[in-house]
Amino acid sequence: MADELDAVAVRAMLLQVCTRMIENTDRLTEADQAVGDGDHGIGMRRGFTAARDKLEALEPASVAEVFKTVGTAVMAQTGGASGAVFGTLYRAGATACGDHALDAATFLAFLEQGLAAVQKRGGAVPGAKTMIDALAPAAEAARAAQADGLAAMIRAAADAAQQGVQASRDMIATTGKARTLGERSLGHPDPGAISMQIQLAAMQDYVAGQRED
């Protein structure tokens, strides 16, 4: 059971994230049609396709470089709110990694610094029906799982994100394109929260696969 991932493994993990995000284009687009402007899936596909291409070409020198590569590609190619927030997440999260391999402490720092940067960038608070409502509980669950090692921490984060997606159904959007929906946004989960959850679940699946090796 790998409780530490080197840069090459992190690259493989993030390639898995890219694949999952690309596979979920339609689901994400439909979620955005219900509460936003209907482009989230294609935006994410563009961003994570670019990230995948960059990762595939990358000989990673550090974990930080891998995360930053994803963040930069997503930010440049996605555009929109999600390009900014997921770009910021990976780029700010990357600075948390230093020269370390990815272990539990580093992953927690990635989530927490990423979350702080996203909140600073967009000014959204938890409960505003954004990806923060998946990311914040994930970071919290990761902190609670600090002692359990990387794999358990990622699983806890992914589970919490999943619950966050469900919880976002009951939130009234106060930022982003769902904002004016008001009560009409009730019942629909936030597209960006779903994306966050898919990314964490992809990481979890990668780490779980590693463990079984």
Partner: protein, 339 residues
């Protein structure tokens, strides 16, 4: 469901091909920046002999053509940065455009107040700041349907962009400082109010699907420029009743009071007929007459569209002498040539 029928090549290329077509449509008055979907005025203000001009950068998601890209030109913007369809442009493109047009006096950004645009333009400004370029923002928040007046910062930018960019273009052309151009543009923005309605949806070329569904006899009041929901969905009434409802939301908001003078914009969201807009104009003028509001200038047509969405928006800009001067100043571009 069948894809919405359009005459396109590969839908992944729509934005690249659109900006290419736009530059060609400008008959040599714009060019495309290398490596970015940024349309730049040509010759630049400096090349045309205007040194140290305050730069004006506009932009946002694509799919709203002719805005913003159609507003690059003399008396208007120095550059427009074009995101993907309905998606704000990325920070690197914004920063590159900022550097391209800055001539030492700084750059004014004018764009719609959307989370995506705010975040990306802010990051672009930070990158530009690293190069010692001063940037100021005017975020257009004209859509009265998006939030109550107390939360004006939650309002999004719709067709009022046209007036704000027009005035910003003139201000940046004539003011000595970024702060002064910002002041005038911010006043224009603060005096602008819009509301839109839609009876059918536009679609994003890549998905080919309408972005929302509306019943055969329904109209959405307060529809956003990307098909975001408005304040209410109701049975479609006669045009005069629709206009009355829109004007009732607009007039008290600023408010537009007896004796004031406005510029009026009736913007086609896409597939509505000009006939419908002209019929609406009749009633709008009736409402304005009743309210004692005079019209200095009328713009009517396609400015900020939402692909083939059917519907229109009404924008009022309250004028003073300064705004009138800048509104009436000459302008030349693909989307807007006047004076």
């Amino acid at each position: 469901m069948q894809r919405v029928k359009k005459i396109l090549n590969d839908t992944a290329d729509v934005v690249a091909e659109t900006v290419e077509g736009l530059v060609l449509a400008s008959d040599g008055t714009t060019r495309l920046m290398d490596g970015h979907r940024v349309i730049v005025r040509q010759p630049s203000a400096r090349e045309a002999g205007r040194k140290g001009k305050v730069g004006l950068l506009v932009g946002g998601g694509s799919g709203h053509e002719p805005l913003f890209s159609g507003l690059v030109g003399q008396g208007l913007a120095d550059a427009a940065v074009c995101g993907n369809v309905f998606a704000a442009p990325s920070p690197d493109a914004i920063a590159a455009a900022t550097q391209d047009i800055d001539d030492g006096a700084g750059v004014l950004y004018v764009y719609g107040n959307y989370a995506g645009d705010v975040m990306n333009f802010d990051m672009g400004a930070e990158l530009a700041g690293d190069e010692d370029i001063t940037v100021r923002n005017v975020r257009v928040r004209d859509d009265v349907a998006a939030a109550p007046k107390e939360r004006i910062d939650d309002r999004r930018g719709i067709a009022g962009d046209l007036f704000v960019v027009k005035i910003a273009g003139s201000a940046c052309e004539s003011c000595d400082t970024l702060d002064e151009a910002w002041r005038i543009t911010a006043k224009a923005e603060a005096n602008t109010r819009s509301i839109g309605v839609a009876v059918s949806a536009g679609s994003i070329p890549e998905t080919g699907k309408p972005t929302f569904e509306l019943g055969d006899d329904e109209i959405e009041i307060g529809m956003g420029a990307h098909g975001e929901p408005g304040v209410s969905r109701q049975k479609i009434g006669p045009a005069d009743a629709v206009v009355d409802q829109m004007m009732a939301a607009l007039l008290p908001d600023l408010p537009f009071e007896r004796g004031c003078e406005v510029a009026l914009l009736i913007n086609n969201l896409g597939a509505s007929t000009m006939m419908e807009l002209l019929i609406a104009n009749r009633r709008i003028r009736h409402c304005l007459d009743q309210a004692g509001v005079g019209v200095h200038r009328t713009e009517i047509g396609h400015f900020l569209t939402t692909q083939e969405m059917a519907g229109y928006s009404i924008t009022l800009l309250k004028l003073d002498d300064e705004l009138k001067h800048h509104l009436d100043a000459p302008a030349r571009s693909v989307a807007y040539s006047r004076g």
